[in-house]
Symmetry: C2
Subunit: 211 residues, 2 copies
């Protein structure tokens, strides 16, 4: 089936748009409820005065996540996929023309909560960030390998809950490295703020690399 | 596309197999890491002497979950879906002919961790049980409605962690009822054992209804 072929052509087109305008696009992927929106809220509140940001939200239904992002003052577009299990490059292309991001902006794409299907769909992003929560178990990188294989960064979120769960950070990292030796890690808590400095520094490096 | 049509025919065939032999089949669905395998381990250890059980495990990769189930002494088959994001009725049909469950058995099917795609694929089960963890946020029933609409029971798991997260049980239930007014709820902790009695009683009723 040529679905992936067509998607890759559309992703290339998006990437051309982004690079032409010096825009850094990120694709945030995770299981449902790992903390993508919470991390975005905390990030936007901190950097909104130094960096022009936009958000594209993907969910089966509701505008819950877009409403939370709008409340930070950030421009956001909500895509509802209905029965669809992932965002694709064409949806992003349409959203981009709605948002009309300024040159040198930072565009966050929050994908549908799903560790499987979004792995196959390039959106034209500069980097893909997989988020796992310490409450989900440390075996996810091996059980859902495609997503970790295709991500540059793995955020281990909700580390404030580590004392209450049997999650081994070392094991999760070893499993992720088995699938993708180049993947980087950041441990953080989107609610307590621990590790946010490291994440903001990583973002800063990525944005500077785009100019 | 006739994928769903073909799957429904295969599901009907499975259901015929099950009803013919008085077998109760359950389809457990959730996000990755909500606690499906942990719940099965706790359940099997408690009922293995009164009820003949079998498990069919679904994951993209690894036999981690089947190994955990086998360690309880229960017969289990692992299905690896590769790039596939859900179990389908044909996969279950093949697994059934491998397991050859005895009449009046209880067959648990643990689906791939994914709140989207498995909702569309009937496996021939008697009941579908959606599990949400209090660590995922209480908005999931509205954001991923198809899965809750097609489930008879919603287990709210990891209630031992409620003191550490901002999850409202009442809100989650109200959202699930908005999508499916008939859905039932059980609050439990698969690790502390709280609520397990209610779950075992629910299972017992289901099995007795099959005879
Ligand atoms: N304790 C703790 N809770 C967190 C953290 N990050 C997020 N949460 C909670 O986790 C739940 C889900 O967070 P969201 O940000 O909505 O997760 P999401 O990945 O955007 O969810 P979807 O968009 O539905 O896939 C909420 O109850 C958050 O408050 C964290 O670092 N620590
Ligand atoms: N605190 C607490 N942790 C739990 C509970 N149930 C499961 N866990 C933990 O949650 C993590 C994931 O549990 P699993 O049973 O592997 O989840 P799963 O739904 O089978 O995961 P997948 O098969 O990968 O989708 C593990 O670290 C478990 O120990 C619970 O009731 N309370
Ligand atoms: Mg979100
Ligand atoms: Mg499991
Ligand atoms: Zn899918
Ligand atoms: Zn048959």
């Amino acid at each position: 089936r040529d679905i992936l072929g067509k998607n890759n052509r559309s992703a290339k087109h998006n990437r051309f748009h982004f690079e032409e305008a010096g825009i850094t696009a990120l694709n945030l992927v995770s299981s449902p409820g790992s903390g993508k929106t919470t991390l975005l809220e905390a990030t936007l509140k901190t950097i909104k005065h130094q960096q022009h940001c936009y958000v594209i939200e993907g969910d089966q239904q509701t505008t819950h996540d877009a409403d939370r992002i709008a409340a930070t003052g950030c421009e956001v577009v909500q895509i509802n996929t209905g029965k669809g299990c992932h965002l694709d490059a064409e949806m992003i292309h349409r959203a981009l023309h709605q948002l009309n991001p300024q040159p040198h902006a930072l565009v966050f794409i929050e994908n549908v909560g799903n560790l499987v299907c979004p792995a196959m769909f390039d959106l034209g992003e500069k980097a893909r960030v997989a988020i796992i929560s310490v409450t989900e178990g440390d075996d996810k990188p091996l059980k859902y390998p495609d997503m970790f294989e295709s991500s540059q960064l793995c955020i281990i979120n909700k580390i404030d809950l580590l004392p209450y769960v049997n999650f081994s950070v070392a094991r999760a990292k070893a499993f992720a490295h088995q699938v993708n030796p180049k993947i980087e890690f950041i441990e953080l808590s989107a609610t307590s703020g621990q590790g946010m400095d490291e994440w903001l520094a990583w973002l800063n490096n990525l944005v500077n690399a785009s100019h």
